[in-house]
């Protein structure tokens, strides 16, 4: 029987947006995307797609990618399909955009249940917009799944999972029975580039689009559990003293002497 894998993937503001182009609308308490910089699939979620594809490389598996939000950029969100995922499900509704972690976890849990049987739910370790690192934990608690975080390697055989999880110093090997949820970190390795064939195949596929009403959501569970009172860009008022010499060698020497003068070394 094929293994059913669900990957949760979020569309985010490009985290590599240069610091100088990063803007927020303080009154509306939201980030204003830099003009001309398209959104991306959250990087760790691409790692999660890659983890799913590596399982699929070795065994019969079907991969569904689920995303919750609104204003999806279709060419961006189709990237997992072009990498080799089978299905894309977008829960596309203003009512579920900009939810906090607890509410997002609830909506994703409902969507995952609606997909039908699943063996493995893969998420990124955190989304690079709000850096919450909470949604997967919420899904695991809601669906009652065993949860393994920070995977750098995920193997699935005979109903069991073997996960290598990154520790501060080193790693740990953990086993769990499926169904289970695993969060994936960048230590898993680079996500594969979509092949030309993959891109063609993805362009022919259309996503399954659900709205909030398709999921029969309890409005009480969409309310924020924390109130955002302020969003601001921190000011750094450091003045950098540039040390210059006649050439690189001289600069290096002067820099060291300057640090001694300041008693920093």
């Amino acid at each position: 029987m094929a293994l059913n894998i669900v990957v949760c993937a979020k569309q985010v503001v490009d985290p590599e947006t240069p610091v100088s182009a990063f803007r927020i609308d303080a009154d509306a308490r939201r980030v204003v995307p830099a003009p001309g910089v398209p959104p991306v699939v959250n990087g760790f979620d691409e790692n999660a797609v890659e983890a799913a594809l590596r399982i699929k490389d070795g065994t019969d598996a079907a991969i569904a990618v689920v995303s919750v939000g609104s204003g999806f950029a279709m060419d961006v969100m189709k990237k997992p399909l072009s990498m080799g995922a089978d299905q894309l499900v977008l829960v596309d509704d203003e009512a579920v955009a900009d939810l906090d972690a607890a509410a997002t976890a609830y909506v994703l849990s409902r969507a995952i249940e609606r997909l039908g049987g699943y063996d493995l739910v893969l998420c990124g370790r955190q989304a690079s917009d709000w850096d919450n690192a909470q949604v997967p934990l919420g899904i695991a608690e809601t669906l009652g799944l065993p949860c393994v975080t920070m995977a750098q390697k995920v193997e699935a055989h005979n109903g069991g999972l073997v996960v290598e999880r990154v520790l501060d110093e080193g790693y740990q090997v953990v086993e769990a029975d499926m169904p289970a949820l695993v969060t994936v970190s960048n230590e898993l390795g680079e996500p594969r580039y979509p092949s030309l064939r993959g891109i063609m195949a993805a362009s022919r596929k259309s996503p399954t689009v659900w709205t909030a009403s398709d999921l029969d959501l309890d409005p009480a569970r969409l309310a924020p559990s924390l109130e955002l009172v302020d969003l601001f860009i921190p000011v750094t008022d450091r003045q950098c003293e540039m040390v210059e010499g006649e050439d690189g060698q001289d600069t290096g020497r002067r820099l060291a002497l300057r640090l001694r003068e300041e008693k920093l070394i």
Partner: protein, 329 residues
């Protein structure tokens, strides 16, 4: 839980008979909130000496729970244990450190209790008039800061970044009560098979007063030997940007930043690091940053006190030699 909730419970961590430094920081933060008893939960049969250490650092009460599965890295067991202790202590505020334990167990306990949690807080405060609890945390990779206010429901769960608070000076004369808690046995659904440690010799990155770090600009792993040499001269540790660890030049345990280690050295020397916000998120607590980078517009110079613009291959050798002369003379 509403109404009766009072005080602060810190989910403590300890190892080898000592409290984690971060637990002392949580206790100091707990006292600063000034909302009743400050207690600490110590899982895994904490010895009395560790309990007393917690009291000397500010705990009024210590909850110890000795179920064999807790406190040993099984999140399922720890979530269940902290949730149960929380049921007894009924705190207004439940604090965790931003560690492998806290970042996972904290939000899961919150979900289980039906309340919200805030990750990676750099400040947790009670508002002047209302006493409502507000946290400050970096978001968008450190490009922005968010202030979030908890609703009335208790407990308010905050996961606090290391070194954001100073521990109190230990006071052996402080008194505190040790409360042993009987736990319902947890259901643990994951099995640990093996742990492979990669602790590097020498000073720990997080504790070092001098850190020398390299980035993608170094071009490969071998220049890190020169950084090792420099760190050795200054009694410091070597670190790296994520680009370096992703490329496999160094192990991930060297990574500094949002998703790596938080460092707070007196002196932070960077070579060939651009200073992306996600990197700076882990080193903004450095007292002085020194940057060597060939691009004068690079973001790292915005955080640096001293900078040198140029190719590291020209600057670094004489920099290291001069430092050698200075420290050896």
């Amino acid at each position: 839980m509403t109404g009766a909730a009072l005080g602060v419970l810190a989910a403590g961590e300890w190892t080898d008979g000592r409290l984690y430094p971060g637990t002392g920081e949580l206790l100091a933060l707990g006292r600063s909130l000034d909302c009743g008893e400050v207690s600490v939960a110590l899982l895994g049969d904490a010895p009395e000496s560790v309990c007393r250490e917690a009291v000397s650092l500010g705990a009024d009460a210590v909850y110890t729970a000795s179920h064999p599965l807790t406190g040993d890295g099984d999140a399922d067991a720890d979530v269940s244990a902290i949730a149960q202790i929380c049921g007894q202590a009924k705190p207004r505020v439940l604090l965790f450190g931003k560690t492998a334990f806290g970042a996972e167990v904290g939000p899961r306990v919150a979900f289980r209790l039906g309340v919200g949690a805030a990750q990676d807080c750099v400040a947790v405060e009670a508002e002047d008039e209302s006493g409502r609890v507000v946290v400050t945390r970096p978001v968008h990779g450190g490009n922005a800061m968010a202030r979030l206010r908890f609703p009335d429901a208790d407990p308010k769960v905050a996961i606090v970044r290391g070194k954001a608070y100073e521990p109190l000076a230990a006071d052996g004369s402080r008194r505190g009560e040790i409360r042993r808690v009987e736990l319902e046995p947890p259901v643990v659904r994951t099995r640990r098979v093996e742990t492979v440690e990669s602790r590097s010799a020498g000073v720990r990155l997080e504790d070092a007063s001098v850190v020398v770090a390299g980035g993608r600009g170094l071009g490969g792993p071998s220049p890190f030997e020169q950084l090792e040499e420099l760190a050795g001269l200054l009694g410091g540790a070597v670190g790296a940007s994520r680009a370096v660890c992703d490329a496999g030049w160094l192990d991930h345990s060297y990574q500094i930043g949002l998703t790596g280690k938080t460092i707070t050295p007196d002196l932070y020397i960077t070579v060939g690091i651009s200073g992306a916000s996600q990197h700076m998120a882990g080193c903004s607590g450095a007292r002085h940053t020194v940057a060597i980078n060939k691009d004068a517009d690079s973001n790292i110079f915005k955080a640096a006190s001293f900078g040198a613009v140029g190719d590291w291959q020209d600057i670094l050798p004489s920099f290291i030699e001069t430092i050698r002369e200075l420290v050896e003379s």
